[in-house]
Symmetry: C2
Subunit: 471 residues, 2 copies
């Protein structure tokens, strides 16, 4: 028996001679938090208890639930006396075999998870915030204790992605991960794409439907997706990557015109969380960031609509993979927690546990050494020679233009030069897509464009996905 801690109530031999378990183990679960996900989990365990016992040989019993207020009425049915306000007591309670943490937030969840691991109890957590800031520490603590730490629900909710990444792809060199990891922004972008809505209207609609919060910052500025891609990058590359290492750019600056231009040129705009590995073995660099991307309509990520999430993985041997589903919501998240809980319970029963492997510090590739094709939108004075001037700036910085479109709004409609003259100058919107270019060169191009008298404004700058998928 490899580990001596966290024994199940009736840990016995795995059944031999029959696939139907006759001596299944009761596994006692302590639950930290009983909000949307916790309540959904309690109901799901009640409903599936017998089926799980028949198929996995473990009988799950939720014996303790730590909440902030034990007097609040709850829709779920729990054993008498299960509710407690004492989370610290729950995680060391000898009557708890496995701890499930669905309270969220870095603290006090972090301290409770660490205490549970130190007490030798396997932990299932849905806590993205905690793992994004302290993942490597928590992973190391689980390894030191020799117990399971499972967190399928912490990345993309109900989509089984962490397990395939940890297990199925353990021998696969993963080169890049591209994720639509935030349902709120994907809903907003879908409405802007399919309904022609403005950003503000689409956001208001998402808020009315409960897809976006009153303060939508964490979603729309990319921080939520950034936390998730930090966890994914850690797992995919065996590297220590934290939320603070992820450069985040959101969607609040995107205009309906940008989305429409993308559509005319065969793209949809998606907010992608990107983790990439460069170089081989002893000269590996990594990168993780979040920003809007022009995705070709033929790419599988382009078909991810509404509030759905997806993770696209580019492996060196396996090729392209995609995992699609609900990234949030009580039921899908509870489904992912339950999958982990069954795994932890089954492992406990036979005295095994999964390993997270080791994590090292890998250098981050500097942003200005990255390259991409770019979409840029410029508002310029509509006068002879302007296009040549602007194009000259691109050329001087070695940025090659792949396609260009100029739109002159009807007279009197779109001038921003007020007060300067009696007869305002007309302006033209000029949209470019470049070929592959270095980030530094594009940054310099934009700086010089901003300095031109004829350039009124540099609008959106959006990266373009650099490859069509394989056929």
């Amino acid at each position: 028996m490899p580990t001596g801690v966290g024994e199940p109530v009736r840990a016995g031999r795995a059944p031999a001679g029959s696939l139907t378990d006759v001596n299944s183990s009761v596994v006692r679960v302590g639950l930290l938090g009983c909000g949307t996900v916790g309540s959904a989990l309690v109901a799901l365990v009640d409903e599936q208890r017998d089926a799980i016992e028949a198929r996995a040989g473990v009988r799950l019993e939720i014996v303790r639930v730590a909440v902030r207020d034990t007097t609040r009425p709850r829709a779920v049915s729990l054993p008498d006396g299960a509710l407690t306000i004492d989370g610290a007591g729950l995680v060391v309670d000898p009557d708890v075999d496995v701890v499930v943490e669905v309270m969220g937030g870095v603290e006090p969840a972090g301290a409770l998870v660490m205490a549970a691991l130190a007490a030798g109890k396997p932990v299932v957590t849905a806590n993205k915030e905690l793992l994004a800031v302290a993942g490597p520490e928590v992973f190391t603590a689980a390894g030191a204790a020799g117990v399971d730490l499972l967190f399928e629900a912490a990345v993309v909710g109900g989509i089984p992605f962490v397990r395939p990444l940890r297990e199925s792809l353990l021998g696969e060199p993963v080169n890049r991960v591209l994720g639509i990891m935030n349902g709120t922004t994907n809903y907003i972008l879908t409405r802007m794409t399919e309904g022609g809505a403005d950003y503000g209207d689409a956001l208001a609609e998402a808020q009315a439907l409960g897809y976006a919060e009153a303060d939508p910052t964490a979603d729309v500025e990319g921080f939520d997706a950034g936390a998730k891609i930090a966890i994914v990058a850690s797992l995919a590359f065996g590297a220590r990557v934290r939320a603070g290492d992820v450069a985040c750019e959101g969607i609040s600056g995107l205009a309906a015109d940008d989305i429409a231009f993308a559509g005319r040129h065969g793209f949809v705009v998606k907010l992608l969380a990107v983790a990439e590995r460069f170089g081989k073995a002893d000269a590996t660099e990594v990168m993780a960031r979040v920003h809007p991307v022009f995705v070709p309509v033929t790419h599988p990520l382009a078909s991810v609509r509404g509030s759905f999430n997806a993770v696209f993985v580019q492996g060196e041997v396996v090729g392209d993979l995609m995992f699609y589903g609900r990234g949030a919501g009580g039921d899908p998240t509870a489904s992912a927690v339950l999958g982990d809980l069954i795994d932890a319970a089954s492992n406990l029963r036979v005295g095994a546990h999964g390993s997270l492997g080791s994590f090292v510090d890998l250098p981050f590739r500097p942003v200005d050494e990255l390259a991409s094709a770019f979409y840029l939108s410029i508002l310029a004075v509509d006068q002879p020679g302007v296009l040549a001037t602007v194009a000259g700036v691109f050329g001087r910085h070695g940025v090659s233009i792949a396609s260009m479109e100029q739109v002159v709004p009807p007279a009197g409609v779109a001038s921003s030069a007020v007060g300067a003259s009696l007869e305002p100058e007309r302006e033209a919107r000029i949209d470019f897509i470049t070929h592959m270019a270095g980030e530094r060169d594009v940054t310099n191009t934009i700086a010089e464009l901003r300095g031109l008298d004829v350039v009124v404004r540099v609008g959106s700058v959006v990266r373009v996905l650099d490859d069509e998928p394989d056929r």
Copy 2:
């Protein structure tokens, strides 16, 4: 220690105190077959050996390889004396810890796999044919021996789907699985959709590219996908489903006109393998079959192009999930085999093994009790009253028409009434999409239509996917 068989070379305690394994185990692998997948696996293990040891604590050594002809030159590098023609000796060799079967075909692979399991050795197999005809027996043998039987590569090649289904979704009630599980037919359909190609031309192109075999029957008539969905249905529903239980309908009868009609009405045509569960708990029926389907262009399955595969899962709690990637090919398949091999080796090291749960005989829902919306194409004589006559037949069988389109070809082009009269009658193609209708009612409708004098021919009949995905 739950099982006494198949001990690793240096099975020790799982490491405690560090995530970096200091006492990793050598796991000796016996390989049955060394064709495309086997060779790719040998190369991949060589390349990834150190990385796998660092992350999983097992050092994989391929010590025996059974082939038909040991004298054939091989591109892979193997230890001296590793090649043998004695597969039966390999599977009981005490120097082999894990058996990997990539020879394919029901026999002799089946006997070798059963012998390996009986000898207490974990087995990793990529053998779809074997599991589709004898899955329940092989699963039971693995359970009786108390060892791992892993077969990620047997269903959709490189896509991690079997593991998520077996583990992540073990507590999830799966209602339906829709799979694009055959790359050959998906390539052909993509060419017909995007290039307007005829079936024959698209098939010839697929053959020229090596995507289709000289005799394409197993692919184009749906038998390959049928074998895969039998395995998936077994796992998803815990039921004994074999290839022979799957009704297969292929794509060879589809015409370019059918594909074009689909496109005009917002659909793409896909060959789907479908497994469905009806009813609850003690009154469950199942169904598994393969046939072309009109898929709405907004559905994620519609974006699966070329030779890619995907599996769409509808769970009661988790909602819609999709898994996408390469369903075949040496490298993707080897990647899936390697994921399983690492899992089996890691489990051996700690004396654990995965369980497949139990399988029961569930009744199959009779085909004529199923319901679907349908596309039907009819060639009729172009004369007054024909449409009313035809529509009357639908109405008499309770089949309600959702949309209809009539195309009269230019005069003299498309008459099939030769010799009967000096002035051939003109014909019209009439395409219908029905609302949801019982299969029995549609079958009866078609039979009556065939009996009408004004109906020249009933062409394609294709089911229509009954739901838009959630948003």
